[in-house]
């Protein structure tokens, strides 16, 4: 198989990790399931955030406003749900607020040709401002998004309880990675998106509307950031706090780079980080080592940085990332 040959390193690594995970599972099932569940629990917003980045940067637009987009999503979802006492309305509000934030980035940078970094910073500042200003304490939502078991799949040992008996957004995050992978590399939309992000003038001369494609992609990607925020305030917890995205949007950008702008690899990188975090909290709880807590908390960041930097090797961003497209240049 040509595909297998091309991806042998990745397939090999994945197989190895899987075997190790099951060995762990058969040694101590309870701890294994709890650690891997915790890892995925932590990875979900990073995966979604990284997908926002994948779509944006593959189209040629840097999005450092993922953090802010997430925060607004978390805010809008929670307070919409609190006001209407409907979790469905909350989810929709979270997604739509993400769309609005995505559209803001798209129109300022793609149409208005505002510097993309500045636009991202503006988003982050606005997000902090709005969500703090309109914050009201004491609001509650009827309940968080419920966990449910996916028929059959949830019965698989280890994988079932970790990936297939979570809330709807966690499941959505898992599915969307594969969907985006297929869309990006196997469809007309993906080919055009990649062309627009790599070498827009080539796409332009091939008759593709670069501006329109970028507008649509960056706007729609915002929905995923809104959903990631919704996960934070309605699935992982049932509350909203000021600044609750707490750097996950920036972490997602790092995951995006470690993942070499590819959805599947970004998923792997996010899982790795999640697992390292879970390990750190396990270490803390078990009290086996006598290291100050701050250093243990540092562990996932340092390890992820070292391991992924070594594994990723030289990765390259899409060629036209950060550059506004001007027709006829």
């Amino acid at each position: 198989m040509e595909w297998l040959n091309r991806n042998k390193v990745w397939v090999g690594t994945a197989a190895l990790v899987l075997v190790a995970a099951y060995v762990f599972y058969f040694i101590n099932g309870t701890i294994a399931v709890s650690m891997f569940s915790n890892a995925w629990f932590l990875a979900v917003p990073l995966v979604l955030g990284a997908m926002v980045g994948v779509i944006g940067e593959r189209s040629g637009v840097v999005n450092i406003g993922i953090e802010g987009q997430m925060l607004v999503g978390a805010f809008a979802a929670f307070f919409a749900a609190a006001a209407t006492q409907s979790i469905v309305v909350g989810v929709i509000a979270g997604a739509l607020s993400g769309l609005a934030m995505g559209a803001f980035l798209a129109f300022t940078t793609v149409k208005g040709q505002l510097d993309q970094i500045i636009a991202g910073v503006v988003i982050n500042i606005i997000a902090t401002g709005i969500t703090s200003f309109y914050f009201e304490s004491g609001k509650t939502i009827p309940r968080g998004l419920p966990n449910f078991d996916v028929p059959l799949l949830s019965k698989i040992p280890l994988i079932g309880p970790v990936f297939f008996s979570d809330g709807p957004i966690a499941l959505f995050a898992l599915v969307i990675v594969f969907v985006i992978h297929v869309l990006l590399f196997k469809t007309k939309w993906g080919l055009r998106t990649r062309a627009v992000g790599e070498y827009p003038s080539a796409a332009d001369t091939a008759g593709i509307n670069v501006i329109a494609l970028r507008l649509v992609n960056v706007s729609l990607a915002g929905i995923l950031a809104g959903v990631a925020g919704t996960y934070l305030s309605m699935e992982a917890t049932s509350s909203f706090e000021r600044g609750m995205s707490s750097g996950r949007g920036f972490l997602a950008l790092a995951i995006l780079i470690f993942g070499a702008w590819r959805p599947m690899r970004a998923l792997a990188a996010a899982l790795f980080f999640g697992f390292m975090s879970a390990t750190a909290s396990q270490l803390q709880a078990s009290d086996v080592v006598n290291i100050p807590q701050q250093f243990i908390n540092l562990l996932p960041y340092v390890l992820t940085l070292v391991v992924l930097a070594a594994a990723a090797g030289r990765v390259r961003a899409p060629g036209a990332v950060g550059q506004p497209f001007v027709k006829g240049d």
């Binding site: 297929v182 196997k186 469809t187 080919l191 990649r194 062309a195 080539a202 796409a203 001369t205 060629g319």
Partner: protein, 546 residues
Amino acid sequence: MTDTSRNPEPTTAAAASTEASGPAYDNDGATTTASGERETLLEITGLSKSFGTVHANKDISLRVDRGEIVALLGENGAGKSTLVKQIFGLMTPDSGTISIKGDASRIKDPKDAIRRGIGMVHQHFQLVPVMTVAENMMLGHETTSGGLLDLDGARQMVRELSAKHKLAVDPDAEVEDLPVGTQQRVEILKALSRRVDLLILDEPTAVLTPQETDELLGVMKELAAGGTSIVFITHKLREVLAAADRCYVLRQGAVVGQVDDLSGTTTSDLASMMVGRDVVLRVDKAEATPGETVLSVKGLQVRDDRGLPAVDGFDLEVRAGEIVGLAGVEGNGQRELVESLAGMRPSAGGTVTLGSGSDTVDLTRSNAHDTNNAGVGHVPEDREKHGIVGGWSIADNLVLNRYDEAPFARGFVRDFGAVRSHAVELREEFDIRSPNVDVPAGSLSGGNKQKVVVAREMSARPRLLMAAQPTRGVDVGSIEFIHRRIVEARDAGAAVLLVSAELDEILSLSDRIAVIHGGRVVAEVAGQDADRTEIGRLMAGDSDAH
């Protein structure tokens, strides 16, 4: 494989049939066959286009028949690219009509142009570097099955087209891994993959080696024989004579000449039409009087970007007062050699010394700054990247090599007055055409940018002047000027190392010619004994040729 013996230098003495004004025919854009049995494919009448106060195209009229190769000849900035961009729908004319097969309606965008049978190969290839050939070919008119891209179909299409037009490419190769000549083939195939009646080639040979150029001209002729009309932009006169059926000469946005029968035309006829005066293509220079050795390279080893040996045991001496031309097919280590000599790339072995006797400086491990201070002037191959800082003024660009020295700086304070008056002087001396010396160097045309680089490097009075592709992408007037300056530097006692992919340039300037192949010098010949064919064979690695 390649026949390098082709020599299209025409010897006929007959004068060119030129017209001072525009073409003499006139019709309203309808398809007529009155002028001949051939169908008129493209007809442009009274086309004008301006940008602000600059008239890029002035009242241009021209005609292209089916199956004909028409050259658009002109200096940089003559308006050739602007003209074809309008034909391809990338720009809209201010006035005048472009009629394709009798249809004079406005060409809205490239998509519309493609639909009407126009294909274009751009000067800067419009290919996505990280995608495969097949992906590039299908971009914009993808076929899908069940929502997914039909990549197998695209591969098949590439293979078929490639076989049909005898242009070999691997559909699964990533474009960025391909040599420039092959990338161009992909561009041509991409254009041909849609039904093309008129193929526009914008400076197609600017980046090609002599061999690749010959191949391309052959391909053009075959396409024309198959009924495709070709319009190609160039400022290389030999190519016009070698491939074109007819030729229009543009100057300052207007058609200043039309040659319907190229058989009696010479390169100097075309050149003088192009620049509006007689041009000396052969450089007039006195006999060289070489003095002491200035540059001495022994057993130099340099690796390329991938860490593979590019320069492999290179030996060369250049003496004061002589021009040594380094001829070679691109990619035989020239770039790495020059970068290493200039201190921009570390060497992996061997020695480089400047000067002789007690005056010797070892440059083997010297960085760019020290190399420059030791008296090496460098006109780099890639002027946009290494020659100028586009966003800075001409004045600042002219002191990049000496900004920290008197009189341009006192201590650590720059003296802007001195920088400016220096710039004003050089602008005059080197004929840099710009509104003033304060405009960004990046806003100049290719030829003028190169003059800035040459002026800077020469005004420092280097002991060794290294010029890599000094006239690439430069108009004829500037080429002549730069060549004259290089000879002047030689006469003033500088040692000159000229590296060029243009064999003509090497032949006309060099006092001595070294041929590089596989990273080492395979032959050295005296300039006046040089034989074009033989050097071509040596460049191709045929060691028996000598």
